[in-house]
């Protein structure tokens, strides 16, 4: 966009609306169109390890799917334009278009997989490809952009997210996508998948609970004894800097030695590899954000408020629980949010020392050059991280005192 355009935009705004009302949406549409034109939508391969032939969107779709996709694209184009719709109705149209768009993509892909595989060898595989991901991404971003512009409250946003999750869940649970290579990988690993999901959650919970039990008092200590703060923070900061795999690796030898020296520890399952070193490393990583945010939250309580509490005759314990903790809670929960997302990600790497979790699929897939197995580990991890982030974000905004949300 040249400078001349924006200037004329400004001039037009007083009299009539500009030609392009939403440049973000227009950019997204251009990206989507380019991906349809130049990138494959799916790949068809003779078996799970060989890379296959590219299938473009127009080759994969039935005519009605094509027409529907084009119609949804046209609707989005209209809502990107400044006329005839005003800004808010245009955003509502875009928001309502995004979900059918995502559904239609899933339907087209799943339908193509079933058709392509019906007259192919049993080993043949259909996988989603670059253009599918770009279109899915664009669909999600259209919704994000519309939600941002509409400035909806927490409840409608939550409702929209819920509808989107239900939609995708229905597509996954039904027979629709069962032809896809990644879903067949899932079907082969179904029991194992649940095990690894539980393992992953155990790793994350096993890291968060001890980190909270140790980190919250440490944060309070840092607030009460300012002299200890810089020393404590720099020690924790060093750990935060170390690459996770290095920490996992360095813990193996001491823990193995410990397990040899103290047999009852070994009986508890503590050893050089497996859950124990993974959880210890994750706890170490989780400490800094919790301690730092607890400290920052407590330090952010205004001195005047504390004085008022003392003036009312509250005891130090009462001040802590009834004044300081409630006021510091949003910052503390933001720390928990950082730590949860971080632990979900680091638990992936823990698979390298035999702790299991979704990382097991990723590294097994990388070893076998089986991309769909990699995705079977990577996608659920990302979804888990995004969901955890979303839930904790809501908790953070709920913990803010009423009127400041």
């Amino acid at each position: 966009m040249s400078k001349v355009d924006t200037r004329s935009d400004r001039a037009l705004r007083t009299s009539s609306r500009p030609i392009v009302g939403n440049r973000v949406l227009l950019t997204l549409l251009i990206i989507a169109l380019a991906s349809v034109a130049f990138l494959p939508f799916a790949t068809l391969s003779p078996n799970r390890l060989v890379s296959g032939q590219a299938v473009m969107l127009w080759q994969a779709c039935r005519p009605w799917q094509w027409i529907a996709l084009a119609a949804l694209g046209a609707l989005l184009l209209v809502s990107a334009a400044g006329r005839p719709l005003a800004a808010r109705p245009a955003c509502r149209v875009a928001l309502l278009t995004s979900l059918p768009l995502i559904a239609l993509l899933l339907i087209s892909l799943g339908d193509y997989a079933h058709r392509a595989l019906s007259d192919a060898s049993p080993a043949a595989r259909v996988s989603q490809s670059a253009s599918f991901w770009v279109l899915l991404f664009v669909g999600a971003l259209v919704a994000v952009d519309a939600l941002q512009r509409l400035r909806l409250g927490l409840v409608p946003r939550l409702g929209f997210a819920l509808v989107a999750v239900v939609l995708v869940a229905v597509c996954l649970a039904s027979d629709l996508l069962s032809g896809l290579s990644i879903m067949r990988e899932f079907a082969n690993q179904r029991a194992n998948f649940l095990d690894q999901l539980v393992r992953h959650l155990v790793l994350v919970a096993g890291a968060l609970i001890p980190a909270l039990l140790v980190g919250l008092p440490l944060g309070l200590l840092a607030r009460r004894r300012e002299a200890w703060r810089s020393g404590l923070f720099s020690v924790l900061n060093v750990f935060q800097t170390l690459p996770s795999i290095a920490v996992f690796g360095l813990l193996i030898a001491p823990l193995a030695a410990l397990a040899r020296a103290v047999p009852w520890l070994a009986e508890l399952g503590i050893g050089g590899i497996g859950l124990a070193p993974a959880i210890i490393a994750l706890v170490i990583y989780s400490l800094l954000p919790i301690v730092r945010n607890t400290y920052a939250g407590l330090a952010g309580v205004p001195a005047g408020t504390l004085e008022a509490a003392r003036g009312m005759g509250m005891t130090p314990t009462q001040i802590l629980w009834r004044v300081e903790v409630p006021l510091a809670l949003p910052v503390i929960l933001s720390g928990l949010r950082i730590v949860t997302v971080q632990a979900i990600g680091l638990a992936v790497v823990a698979a390298l020392i035999g702790a299991g979790g979704f990382g097991a699929f990723i590294f097994q897939g990388l070893g076998q050059y089986a991309i769909d197995l990699v995705l079977l580990g990577a996608i659920p991890t990302i979804v888990m991280a995004v969901i955890a982030d979303f839930i904790l974000q809501i908790l953070v905004s709920l913990s803010r005192p009423a009127g400041t949300r």
């Binding site: 966009m1 795999i245 590294f363 991309i371 990699v374 995705l375």
Partner: protein, 261 residues
Amino acid sequence: MNAPVASSHRASRLTQVRARASGNLVLGGLIIVLVALTLGMGALEPLFHALFPELRNPLYARDSFLNLMLAHIGLVLVSSLISVTIGIAAGLFVTRPVGREFEPMVSSLAAIGQTFPPAAVLAIAVPLAGFGFAPTIIALSLYGLLPVIQNTIAGLGTVPQTTLEAARGNGMSRTQILMRVELPLAMRVIIAGIRVSVIINIGTATIGSTVGAKSLGTPLIAGLVGNNLAYVIQGALLVGLLAIVTDLLFERLERRYSFGG
């Protein structure tokens, strides 16, 4: 930094200088250890023999540690240069009048993107670009982009409106304001973003060896797979030291850009 110091503050100033001197000593020592270990890990062979008597080859010898270190630094340097260039450019674009409309979208992309685990991003980059150096660079630069964008936007946002008005009142052009006022004032926050990005990349480059990119993770992963703890320790020590030294260097750089203490 150059702010006048009141005499009552001289004592705290002195402890600050003393802390900085001991900080320099620590940094210098760590750099010496890092270089010495990279070049002379072989000298520690008897130690590893003594620690792990059951291992026949307790010293990683498939590649020199210098090569691995340089490959690791190369991976991080190339990807960080890409992230910093694109990240600052994108941050500048969305804070100018031309691109302001894109700011909420870019900010939330940077925020959502950072919830993606780096290891998962690395694993997903593989089918896109094939195994080896290229997918690792793509994944590292993509991931490293996010903190740089976020901090560029945040840093430029901290520049007070009155300062900008004063600059305009002095008759400075838009480019002059950007180069002489906004960027210098935002530089500390931008560098903090680059620091986060580089430190994450040092860690993720270590895992890059699972997708075929040579790095200090190569002996580490080889040791984990082949049950050779000595390899694991050698790789982990070097990569850990590299991360700490880099972090301390960035801390120093950040301090240089903090104005008025």
